[in-house]
Structure formats: C-alpha cells, structure tokens
C-alpha cells in the first residue's frame, strides 16, 4: 500500500478517537481539541515513513496524541487556569438539543473541572492510568518519562483531587 493511502486510512480510522482524546484532555474545549488533532496528524505524517508495520497503528497514534496534548498543555501551563475559567463559563461541547446541552454541561462541569485543575503532565498520566488503564511502565515509555516520575505524577494528581473533594484511586 502506498504511503498516501496509508495516511488516508489512518486518518479515516483514527480521527474521531484522536479528537475525543484531545477533547477529554482539554476539558471539552472543541477548538483546542481540533487544533491538537491537527498537530497529531502533522506528527503522524512526518513519521509515517519511519514505520515498519502500518497495519496496527492504534497504539502508536494514541501515544502520539497523548504526547502532543501533553506538550500543548505544558506550553500553555501558565495560562491554563484562565482557559479553564473560560471553559467552565462557556463549555463548547454540545451541538444538540438544549436538554442535552444542559445535562452535558452539568456532567462535564463536575468531572472535568477537577481534571482540568491538574497540571498537564499529571492530567495526561492520570487519564492514561485510570481511564485507559495502562500500566505505569507503559505510560513511562509512551511519555518518555521514568517510571518513578510517572508514579510521582499520579500521586500528586491523587492528592490534588483529594483536596478538591474527590475520591481518587491510588496509583
């Protein structure tokens, strides 16, 4: 299969998953998630030539997406608090009925407010560990961090969530 077709197929198969991962990490900010998805596919295209097996790239794309989001969040760290405020004031996650909009807003406000309070690395590590259920070793390898540091990130995330009044699982 030529590389162009591979890129097309990867895009068709993974665009929604990538977008939804970015959306989760952004706290429901659609424009942020769209930009991050764009970045993920830029990276994907840059590295496509280096890949030997293009049949099963789901895991690879997942790692690229998490790293891309982490980089963006880290870069925006200083302004994230303001972004979060804006997000909570103006959630942009729904396109449907007013009922669904209200319901979604309440759900997302409650859960994502806590998640968005975490710094970028903690947020990414927490989602990978507890929502995507990856072992710490794999998270460390994916994010190019040491296993000890991932453990520390998860501990800090748990403490912070605990302080915010949530029950969070141990690392």
């Amino acid at each position: 299969m030529d590389q162009g077709s591979t890129a097309d197929l990867l895009y068709q198969h993974h665009r929604d998953r990538v977008y939804q991962l970015c959306l989760r990490l952004s706290g429901g900010n659609r424009s942020w998630a769209e930009d991050a998805t764009h970045d993920v596919f830029v990276r994907m295209l840059e590295r496509l030539d280096e890949l030997d097996d293009t049949d099963d790239l789901g895991g690879w794309i997942y790692r690229v997406a998490m790293n891309t989001c982490m980089t963006r969040l880290k870069r925006e760290g200083s302004t994230w608090g303001r972004v979060r405020q804006a997000l909570l004031g103006a959630p942009s996650v729904s396109r449907d009925t007013p009922e669904r909009r209200v319901s979604l807003q309440q759900d997302l406000d409650a859960a994502l407010r806590a998640l968005a309070a975490l710094p970028g690395r903690q947020r990414v590590a927490f989602c990978m560990r507890h929502l995507d259920e990856l072992p710490q070793r794999e998270i460390a390898a994916s994010l190019d961090l040491s296993e000890g540091y991932v453990s520390k990130l998860l501990d800090r995330a748990r403490s912070k969530l605990d302080r915010l009044g949530w029950e969070a699982p141990d690392a």
Binding site: R24, S31, H38, V42, A90, D107, L108, E167, P169
Partner: protein
C-alpha cells in the same frame, strides 16, 4: 443520566464521588463528539496533500529494472547541489526541487531584510531559498503550499510567511471559520489570506506585485491603507502616495477619524482576539470585538471582524439567539457577497428564523 449527575455533582459535599467513574461518564458523552467540518476539511487537506510515495517492494527482476532506472537517472539528471536536500528546512517541508537555509546559518536575517527593503517583521530564522531551479515548499501547519521560482527567498516565523525576493505562487487551503487570516509579508506591507491561490513577485529594490487567481486577499500597506483584491486583479508596489492602489478597483482606505482605531491598533486587536480564542476566553473575545467594531474605519476590516464575532457566537457560546441576531445585523450591514455561504450554514445550524 440523572443518577450520574447527582453522583458527580456531589464531588466535595458529604459523600465523596469517585473521580474515575465520573470522568468515564463524561468520556462517554465526549465520544459522541466529532471533528467540526472546518477542522475536518483542514486536516483532510493536510493528509491528502502528502506526496504519494510508492513503497517499492524489491524482489526478482523488478529490483533489477529499478536499479537500472536509478542508474540511468543518475547519469542523465544534472546534479547542481552537492548536498542532498533535507526533507524539512526551517519549518518548510521540501516537496519538490532543492531548498536550503539562506543567509547566515546562525539565524541572522538575509541582507534584503534591512532598511533598503523595510519588511517590518524580519524573521531571525527560518529563511529558505531555492537553488538555481524552482522548488516547492509546504508549511503544513498553515495548510499552505509555496511554489518558488528560481532564486527566490522566503521565510517564516510562527504563523507568518515572508517573501524577500523572487516569485512565488501560494496555494492556501481555506482557513478554518473564525481563524485569523494567514499573513504573507512583503516589502511594503502584508497580504491577508483566507484561502486562495495567488502569485507574488518581490524585487530586491522594493518593487513587487501580487496577482490573485482565486479566492480573496487583502493587501495591508505599511502606512495602513487596505486594499481588497478580487480574482484576476493585480496590485503593484510601491504604492502611489495617498492615491490608493494602482491596479485593482478596490476601495481606498477611509481616512481614520480621531475616534477610530489606527491600523496598528487594529492589528493589536486582531492579535488579542486570536489570543483570547486560543485560550478559550470566548466571552471576553466577543466583548472585545463588540467594543471595537464601531471604531474600525475600513469597511472590509470591519466586515471581517464582524464575521469573526459571529463565528465565535455560533460555535463557542451557547446563546443561539444572540448569534442569530448578530448574523441578521451583519447581513444588513455588509450583504452576503464575502461570507455568504458560511453565514448561510451557520444560520441553518443555529436554526435562525
């Protein structure tokens, strides 16, 4: 869903809710979300423009034929560049011909970037030139393809492009709705692009021209004059003193009254709105735009800002009625020639009467 909400809303009061369970429920909702049509089109363009390189599967006599063909090419094709072309140069993907870094490799601007040709925002790095043959570059993050003629020097810094010398054809994918326009700087100002094809020429002596093939662009001169070009029109510079553009029949810039924003202030406003959008501070962005709209002298600029305000109201804020009211006002003031299709789609989506 009611139990879920009840469970999640209690995060702090009385019984403590489990954050993982709450996020999983939120996750389930987010899984119903899909890329918006503009982002979808932008990324699809990115994917489709990738050069289709066939992966050669070596084996048997096919390998022999390929090797022979390669050897033949090696003999026949003149090789002017001693160094192989790198695939990415200063943020540009080289997809045709040979391109190399221009000027001092330490990042200093080329000699053209000085008082003799006052490009206002000379980049400190990211300056690229073609060899003695044409080359094709892509700024993929900007969804832009540049076809450079020989002896052409271009540059980029973040989201801005620069033409220092030579001739280039720019193909810019349509900008996402509400996104700030791409800017291409030349010696006498800059060109704002919303998604189009146009050709540019820039001489080292400060003369140049832009001709538009399709789409729409605005030329913003260094002195603040703004000229909009329609397909088929051409604009040359240096511009005549205070007499408007030489070639296109676009409207001359209005004289700013004391209460109106200066071009520099308009530029600052645009940057500020873009920053607020990027930070997700949409309400603040709409307040800023509303305050400024009445103070912008140039009609085309005002229309562009008004459209941006509508895009934010439509896509990022939950007040559909306000968005509908805005689009009605916008159409009354500016008509539908420039953003007609986008506004029609937005109004349909909002269910405006």
């Amino acid at each position: 869903m009611p139990e879920a909400r009840k469970d999640m809303q209690s995060g702090g009061a009385g019984g403590r809710s489990n954050i993982v369970e709450a996020l999983r429920r939120a996750d389930a909702e987010l899984r119903q979300e899909h890329l918006g049509p503009e982002a979808e089109a932008r990324i699809r363009t990115l994917v489709e423009q990738r050069p289709r390189v066939m992966v050669l599967r070596w084996g048997g006599w096919a390998a022999g034929v390929a090797v022979a063909a390669a050897m033949l090419l090696w003999v026949l094709v003149p090789r002017e560049q001693p160094d192989p072309a790198p695939r990415v140069v200063a943020g540009f993907h080289v997809v045709g011909g040979v391109a190399r870094l221009s000027g001092p490799r330490a990042g200093g601007p080329p000699p053209e970037c000085g008082p003799s040709a006052p490009v206002r925002h000379c980049p400190r790095a990211g300056v690229v030139e073609c060899g003695s043959r044409a080359c094709v570059l892509e700024a993929r993050d900007l969804s832009t393809r540049l076809e450079l003629e020989d002896d052409t020097i271009v540059g980029r810094r973040r989201g801005q492009l620069f033409l220092f010398r030579g001739r280039v054809t720019c193909r810019v994918a349509r900008r996402p709705r509400g996104a700030p326009p791409l800017r291409v700087y030349v010696s006498e100002g800059h060109i704002e692009v919303l998604g189009t094809i146009f050709s540019l020429r820039q001489d080292a002596g400060g003369r140049g021209e832009v001709s538009l093939r399709q789409g729409a662009i605005r030329f913003v001169a260094s002195d603040g004059r703004v000229m909009r070009l329609e397909p088929g029109q051409r604009l040359t510079w240096p511009l005549p003193e205070e007499k408007g553009p030489r070639a296109p029949a676009s409207q001359p810039a209005s004289q700013p009254s004391p209460r109106r924003l200066s071009p520099r202030e308009v530029e600052t406003l645009e940057e500020r709105v873009g920053r607020l959008r990027n930070q997700g501070r949409f309400r603040e962005a709409t307040r800023t735009l509303r305050r400024a709209l009445g103070r912008i002298a140039d009609r085309a600029t005002r229309e562009s800002f008004s459209y941006e305000l509508g895009a934010i109201l439509t896509h990022h804020l939950p007040d559909a009625a306000a968005a509908c009211r805005h689009w009605r006002r916008h159409l009354r003031r500016f008509g539908s020639s420039r953003y007609g299709e986008e506004i029609r789609q937005a109004r349909t989506r909002l269910g405006c009467p």
